[in-house]
């Protein structure tokens, strides 16, 4: 009996994921209504997702949250990069070209400023904790950009696996704190129009962080923020191991 039930739930993983996420959304919007919608339903749903990810990670000891539990394997497909990027592209439908053009320049500027600033913050933090070699500083600096830039930099420069792991951790902290903090800080930070969203995407850079942060704040801002954020990791992989490393090496080498 239990076997048959488990077969029914694991036979079509993606369908099970639709049902599970549907239930999370329903419950979250109910709770949001209890708070008079002062907290956005999607923000509650995303936090539920993160809590599930924590539980899944603790139970299995693996890296992909709840999706490592066989029952919830479909969550991995549903929330994986393929469908995520497809859904991000779909949000661009109906966006006005004029708004996009207006947001373009400040967005690009934000991207460059943030890449420099994140690398500096990461590298200096590394230095303060005793990782004073330019390779280690550049790797952790890359991690403060995104959790992909860090390991790419570290691998290119030949950093130790301990330092690469630290850079990934810094990037994961960044991505998850962007998800959680954005809805709370959006108003204070002036994140309420397309140009600000493009700037935000360029400043935060993490695709998953901005995707979730804007979804929980105002879904209409998603395309602008996502658009700039998708350039961030590629740009970081280009400049941090090259230009970034050279500058750090000249200053601290």
């Amino acid at each position: 009996m239990l076997d048959i039930l488990s077969t029914a739930l694991t036979k079509y993983p993606l369908i099970t994921a639709f049902v599970v996420v549907g239930i999370i959304m329903w419950a979250s919007y109910k709770v949001a209504r209890l708070t008079n919608n002062r907290i956005h339903g999607s923000a509650i749903a995303i936090v539920c997702g993160l809590v599930l990810a924590y539980i899944g990670g603790t139970v299995t000891g693996e890296k992909h949250g709840i999706s490592d539990v066989p029952l919830f394997a479909g969550i991995g497909l549903m929330g994986g990069s393929m469908l995520r990027d497809f859904a991000i592209v779909s949000t661009a439908f109906g966006v006005k070209m004029e708004e996009l053009k207006k947001a373009g320049l400040p967005g690009a500027l934000a991207l460059v400023i943030s890449m420099v600033l994140s690398t500096i913050i990461g590298a200096l933090t590394a230095y303060a904790f005793g990782y004073t070699s330019p390779v280690d500083m550049a790797t952790i600096g890359g991690g403060a950009a995104t959790f992909i830039v860090g390991p790419v930099t570290g691998t290119a420069l030949g950093a130790s696996s301990e330092v690469i792991a630290l850079s990934v951790a810094a990037g994961v902290v960044k991505s998850i704190s962007v998800m959680i903090l954005t809805p709370f800080l959006a108003k204070t930070a002036g994140l309420d129009n397309p140009a600000a969203a493009a700037v935000y995407g360029g400043l935060m850079g993490t695709t998953s962080g901005t995707a979730a942060g804007l979804a929980a704040t105002d879904p209409r801002l998603v395309p602008y923020g996502a658009m700039t954020a998708t350039f961030y990791t590629g740009f970081g992989c280009l400049v941090v191991p090259s230009l970034g490393y050279m500058v750090i090496s000249a200053l601290f080498g």
């Binding site: 929330g79 469908l83 497809f86 661009a92 979804a215 990791t233 590629g234």
Partner: protein, 137 residues
């Protein structure tokens, strides 16, 4: 047909990914530089052109809007597969580096946005409205 919209979007994504990797290749890295962003710009341009010529049927548009409406649930699933344990257990170094970058970012949103021409969300935009969640559906 609904599939026309989905296929149009998929086509934009494939072209975007191709251009993203091409761009990465040109600058000497094996990475997708902005492929999704390029796909979004393509979708904006192509769908606008088709709609101006009345070539994108209501059903085809629904094919795109379905995915747009699935955006938040997909993001929730994405949140549920993050490595939250690693973030929670990260040492002080990772916390300071990651959070420092985030707070610096939030502080800079206003000053950098101020450099751009004023922009606002258009409230009558049909597509945008369809995107905004109206309570629990």
């Amino acid at each position: 047909m609904v599939i026309y919209g989905v296929a149009l979007m998929g086509g934009c994504m494939i072209v975007g990914t191709f251009l993203g990797y091409l761009l990465g290749n040109l600058v000497g890295i094996n990475a997708n530089v902005g492929g999704v962003g390029i796909a979004m710009v393509l979708l904006v341009i192509v769908s606008r052109k088709l709609m101006d010529k009345d070539q994108l049927s209501k059903l085809a548009q629904d094919g795109i809007l379905f995915w747009s409406a699935m955006y938040i649930p997909i993001v929730v699933a994405m949140a549920a597969r993050q490595n939250v344990v690693a973030a929670v257990n990260a040492g002080a170094l990772a916390f300071i580096a990651g959070l420092g970058a985030v707070f610096a970012g939030f502080l800079l949103i206003r000053p950098i946005t101020a450099l751009s021409p004023k922009s606002t969300l258009d409230e009558d935009d049909n597509a945008a409205e369809a995107k905004a969640p109206k309570g629990a559906k």
